[in-house]
Amino acid sequence: MGELKQSSTQIIEPGGSGGAQFATTRLEAVLAWAQKYSLFMYPFVTACCGMEFMAVSSPRYDFSRFGSEAPRFSPRQSDLLWVVGTITQRQAPILKRIYEQMAEPKWVLAFGTCASCGGFYDNYACVAGVDKVIPCDVYVPGCPPRPEAVLDGLMLLQDKIQSGNRTPSIVKPRQDPAVEQNLGLVQLRKSRTSVA
């Protein structure tokens, strides 16, 4: 909110190429900020990763905390295409069509190994990764990926939206910060399940 006020006062300055450029950059930054925290997603769910997708959307790992709350079941109303699960050769034209129906700016998140690179389905029926048919921005590997990895992928995508970077990148595995700091969350989880 503070950011917004700042930029609006900058834009009022007329003329002055330096002033106008500064305003444009701030405007883009504000737009990017707005876009990244209000992603409307199209969940293109096909296979087992769909179960993890359900888990990520459920209250425990909630991705609506990150702003991507609303699944829009029409590609025309969404800007983030979640490709969840294996894409078979039969499904590829449909995926392409859905992608083409989305309006710019649009991003693609490949959820799972099958969507990223085909997984262990090196056969006649599957497409070895969604980037063979549509451009992809973030790859979240895993079979299925842990919900925390998916959230990392979402945060990574938000970083890329903010910086305007369209180079594809992968989510790397990392230690859970809570475990590192030894907050004892794992122990907490155990005691919760074993208390009557």
Partner: protein, 404 residues
């Protein structure tokens, strides 16, 4: 536009009367997984539907022929991916039938505990998704929360939340953890309370009942002719459950009922699954009581089970055994076998053809929901467009199992 006060004979009016073709395409929010229904609609009534599956055909059966017998486990895991343990156990039982080995008692109880928890996870997902598609979002979230608890336990036991690949021919990949029983009991208790809460929310709701009762009806004769098994068949009134009719593992020794419906509509299918979760909870309790706390989990057969690492590094027999199993794959004798167990959707059968080498010759997975989806046509023809949503949800078509 014709004037409204003219007396016009219907035959004189030229009205287009061809039915509307609606493509409920492979990417659709109400379709669990990817199924395409090409419907001919006359108003809201569906005159004819062509159900097209195969959008998730991943070539499992062909891939199984390229590896060894134990490399089939990840593939069968991804068949019915909401209850992967049941698939693992089913395939392991098929291989063991061919080999003629019986796993130790402790392993049988362990398989039953994990299998029934997987079945509960399946039914929670199905019922939750059904409720969500009818607009009841809260029970879905509660059931997913309950499912998370099962998955936490699975993660403790097997290392993975969803596709564990934990079964092995002749046992399991690793023995049960020391907290298995207390965790299982706590999880089951919590799930029962979640089911109670969801029942309170849903079963008194007029809208929910109206949308499910009397919708998606199929006759018993049709269901049998279509080869339906599992909760969908039991909702038609036939008490066929593989665990009761041909008990495997220790199902003959535990006490549980088989819930059977009568009206064979969506509501009955919903309630049968809900009741089955309660029965699964009973089974898990009894297995926890009767499972020994120590003892071998894997059968001690050098042909099929990897030896412990200490033996591999210290004895020559261990090294040879390890080498043969890892490099050549475990060898099933030549022949064919059909083994069946109760999967999440019904009779999950494995027809294995072996030529005596370590590579499977043919692995046929008999998918229960392939035939159930074949019956979708019969179920929704003549119904209204809005009835497709609960009907299809109640059939629990899992794309991975249907298309393999």
């Amino acid at each position: 536009m014709e004037p409204l006060d003219q007396e016009l004979d219907e035959a004189e009016l030229e009205m287009p009367t061809e039915p509307m073709l609606l493509n409920v395409g492979p990417a659709h929010p109400a379709m669990h997984g990817t199924v395409r229904c090409v419907m001919e609609l006359s108003g809201e009534i569906i005159e004819h539907v062509d159900v097209q599956v195969g959008y998730l055909h991943r070539g499992f059966e062909k891939m199984c022929e390229r590896g060894t017998w134990s490399q089939v486990f990840p593939y069968v895991d991804r068949c019915n991916y909401v209850s992967p343990m049941l698939n693992n156990v089913g395939f392991a039982l098929a291989c063991e039938k061919m080999l003629g080995v019986t796993v130790p008692e402790r392993c049988q109880w362990y398989r039953m505990i994990l299998g029934e928890l997987a079945r509960m996870s399946d039914h929670l997902t199905c019922d939750g998704a059904m409720a969500m598609e009818l607009g009841a979002f809260t029970p879905f979230l509660w059931m997913i929360k309950a499912r998370e608890m099962i998955w936490d336990l699975m993660e403790e036991e097997t290392g993975a939340r969803l596709t564990h690949s934990f079964g092995r021919v002749g046992g399991m990949a690793s023995p049960p953890t020391e907290h298995l029983k207390e965790n299982a009991r706590a999880v089951v208790k919590h799930i029962l309370s979640v089911i109670d809460e969801c029942e309170k929310l849903l079963l008194g709701n007029r809208i929910f009942l109206d949308r499910l009762e009397g919708v998606g009806v199929i006759s018993q004769a049709d269901a049998i002719s279509l080869g339906w098994t599992g909760p969908c068949l039991r909702a038609t009134g036939i008490p066929y459950d593989v665990r009761k009719s041909s008990p495997y593992l220790k199902y003959g020794e535990v006490d549980f009922d088989v819930p059977v419906g009568s009206a064979s509509d969506c509501f009955d299918r919903f309630m049968v699954r809900l009741a089955e979760m309660r029965q699964s909870a009973r089974i898990v309790e009894q297995c926890c009581e009767r499972m020994a706390d120590s003892g071998p989990v894997n059968v001690s057969d050098p042909r099929i089970i990897l030896p412990p690492k200490e033996e591999v590094y210290s004895t020559i027999e261990g090294t040879i055994q390890h080498f043969k199993i890892v490099m050549e794959g475990l060898k099933l004798p030549a022949g064919e076998v059909y083994s069946y167990s109760e999967g999440g959707n019904g009779e999950l059968g494995f027809y294995l053809v072996s030529d005596g080498s370590g590579t499977p010759y043919r692995v046929r997975i008999r998918p229960p929901c392939f035939l159930i989806t074949a019956g979708l046509e019969r179920v929704i023809t003549g119904a209204m467009m809005a009835d497709v949503v609960p009907s299809f949800g109640s059939l629990n078509m899992i794309g991975g199992e249907c298309d393999r």
